[in-house]
Structures are given as C-alpha cells and as structure tokens.
Amino acid sequence: MSRPRLTLLPSLQELPALPATVEQLDSIKAHLDLLLLALEAIADLGSEAMLEAAETLGLDTVITDRVSLWRLRQSSPLRKSSGGRKKLDVEEARSLVLMSCHLAQTHRQVIREAVDRLERLTAQRKPPHSAAVLGDYLDRFCNFYQERMVDDDAAIAELTELALKLLIDLVFYSGSGGSRRLWLALLDRSNPTG
C-alpha cells in the first residue's frame, strides 16, 4: 500500500550549473539516453509519457514536442544515427535529468519491485529472468539497445549487467534527492580525472 509522500518537484535552478566540456557532455548524453532506455523498459513507457513529464515539470519550453525529444535522445554518441550532428546544451541535459527522475519517481513501485526481486533471486542464486518483472525488463532493454545503438552486437551478458546496473541506479534516482544525485553522478562520471 502506498503511503502519502512528499513530492518535491525540483526546478532547473536547484541543480547547480556545473562546467561541462564537449567530452563531458558526450558522456552525459550517452548515460542519460541509457537511463531513459531503462525507464522505457522497466515501465513500458513511450515518448508520450516523457512529454507529459516534461510538461508537468514546466520543461516544455526545452522539450517542446516529440521531435525535440527525439533529437535530444539521438544526440547520444552511442546511437546508430548520432552522426555528431545533434548537440545537447547544459540546460537540455538538466531538463533530461529532471524528466528522468520524475519518471523514476512516478514509476517507483515497479522499479522497487524489480530490485527487490533481483535481491531475492540473487540470494537464492537464481537467474534474474526467473522473475517476470525482471525477465520482461531485460528482454525489452536488450531489444531496445540492439535496435538503436551502434554496438548492436553487444553480448547479452554485458547488456544484462548494464540493464541491472541502471535499474539499481533508478532506485536512488526515484527518491526525493534523485535529480541532484543523478546530476552529480553524471558530472562525476564524465570527469576525466574522476
């Protein structure tokens, strides 16, 4: 049974404006796209849900429509059709962070259920696919990845590990401080000295 929760809708101003070089932004773009891929897979989301989230957060001036969302996501260097022609500025990256965390919070229950099942299965030394919620997630994630990414012949074991890592991360991004935590993680991950 879900309990009443304090909903904190963060604003763009709450995320610190941190420096981002082209290399850092490439890393950020790739990771954000993967995180949204994981959200699509675990919650069976489409672009409409993302646009609704953007509108709820007042980000519809940055993520205006399906085309702009498509262009933002295609800016990932991992995408098959990336081609380097699409760029992503810091405000757009921050908008995607807020949108991702909002979606993670909205679909918090299924994310937690999946991670909970993963913990149980791991303790029992059973494969993740033994649980339907995880099996469906992994299947969708691998399919989406192979459809859209350059590295479409990645080993299933590698994709499974990536998918599970992203799923676990989503648990932490679905909480009250999720957007700040994701933003800092993106910057830290993209830091060449980090």
Binding site: L18, T21, G46, V67, S68, V115, L118, S176, R180
Partner: protein, 265 residues
C-alpha cells in the same frame, strides 16, 4: 519563546523522528529553523511485519554525519559504470561480483574493520546488492547493519527530506563536536542558508540591541559577521568553477514532422 517541534519522516523501511525547539528565526526563512534537535532512527519491518528496530538516537550533528556517509557512499556507487566495477570508495574490502548472493538483511553483526575516524559511520558493499552500515561510538561497541539496496535508498530518502525541510542553528556549546562539513554536498547549501538566516536574524537583533544595549552587541555581532563572511567562501569552494558551456542550438521540428517519428526512440 521557543516551541517544541516534532517531525517524522517515513519510508517503507525507515522512520526518522526528530524533536527540537523551533527558533524564532523561522519567521525569516523559507524553512523551519530548529535548535537542539534530537533524532531517533528506526528500521521498519515492512515486509516481515516485525516490530520497528530503534537503531540509533542522537543529536543533529550525528545525523548529519550519517547523511554524509550515506550520501558519499551512494554517490560513489552511482559513479561506477557497471556492477562489476569497484566503487570509488576505498572502503570496499573486495571486488564486487555480479549478482553475488547476500543474506541476513537488517541484522547486526560485529565490525571486522575500523571505520574512518573522521566519521563514526562507514558503509561498504556486501556483494552487488547489499551494503553494510557500520557505526562506532566511543561509548558503545561498533555495530553493523546489513542493508538491502531498497533499504539504503529509503534511508537516503528520509535523510534527503529531512535535510530539505529544516535548517539547524549551530550549537553554541564549547563541547559541541566539530562536524566535518567541507565534503558535505547538501550541507553546503545548508551552510549558506543557515548563515543567511543567522545574518538576517542578527541584523534584526543587532538593530534592536544597538538601540538598547550597544556595548553588549559587539561580541555577538562579531561572531555573526565572522560566520556570515565565511559562508560565501565555503559556498564558492563547494561548487565547481563556472565555465562556458558549449552551446548547440537544436532545430525545432514542425508539427507535421511529428508523424514520422516513432512512438519509441
């Protein structure tokens, strides 16, 4: 005249209760300012139906140290690119294995390693999905709590909400322990806000005191000014340097073009 306050933050697996006195400074701030804050942190048996375990009680500095330890640990885990990468934290005693089994969640066990002396709390990975939270105090034996990923996320959630909602007045006693907040991500915002609150309160109070007792204001104002002057430097040091962002104007698509874009991309 101060009023006592009671705040409670709950998640599926944790309950955080805080008591303290509401400061009159609250009227000048957007968040309640609390002094002499004490907490009780309990682990809930949300699945087993077990009675809540009152795991820890203490004052605000202790809770801030727990937050610092948990925040730092989780942030280091989020930075790692994969499950098999070792976390940034040097406290991990062994490499992580993908889907390494974990058992006996929420149990207390003796600590097999000394935690960082700067913080009584330390976390380390126990397999890929479990974590061990160590707490050592001068008066009690070191305790270890084994947490699932969900429990760790819930702990951070209640701590995040607590940090977001209240400000604390620094304790004025000489024996108050110095809290290492320099590496604290969120308290950097808290410090600047708290310093602003102190400066605001001091400004109002200072005016009053200047009109009535000018001699006694000297020390208090000097202390407040020192705190206020220190805040911007700390704040600036806590944030990375500003740099120019590579801008890229994204062309906006027409409504007609939306038809060619798939539902998923």
């Amino acid at each position: 005249m101060s009023d006592s306050v009671l705040n409670r933050y709950t998640s599926d697996s944790w309950s955080l209760e805080l008591t303290g006195e509401s400061s009159p400074l609250s009227r000048w701030t957007r968040r309640p300012v609390v002094k002499d804050e004490h907490f009780r942190l309990s682990l809930l048996g949300f699945e087993t139906g077990a009675a809540p375990i009152s795991w820890l009680e203490g004052d605000r500095p202790l809770l801030e140290r727990l937050y610092q330890a948990a925040e730092s640990y989780v942030q280091s885990k989020l930075q790692t690119p994969s499950l098999t990468s070792p976390p940034v934290s040097a406290r991990s005693p062994r490499p992580l294995a993908l889907l390494e089994p974990d058992t006996e969640l929420g149990t207390l066990a003796p600590l097999d390693a000394e935690p960082d002396s700067a913080n009584p709390f330390a976390l380390e990975a126990d397999g890929s999905l479990c974590h061990r939270l160590h707490y050592s105090s001068p008066t009690t034996q070191t305790r270890t709590l084994k947490l699932s990923t969900i429990q760790l996320a819930d702990l951070l959630d209640v701590l995040d909400r607590w940090q977001a909602e209240t400000l604390a007045l620094p304790q004025q006693t000489a024996a108050a322990p110095a809290v290492a907040t320099r590496d604290f991500v969120v308290p950097a915002w808290g410090r600047i806000a708290a310093s602003a609150a102190i400066a605001l309160g001091a400004a109002g109070g200072g005016i009053y005191l200047l009109m009535s007792q000018p001699v006694e204001t000297t020390t208090a104002q000097a202390d407040v000014e020192a705190a206020a002057n220190g805040a911007p430097a700390d704040f600036a040091a806590g944030l990375p340097q500003v740099s120019t962002n590579p801008s890229g104007e994204l062309p906006t698509g027409s409504q007609a073009n939306q038809q060619i874009f798939p539902h998923r991309f």
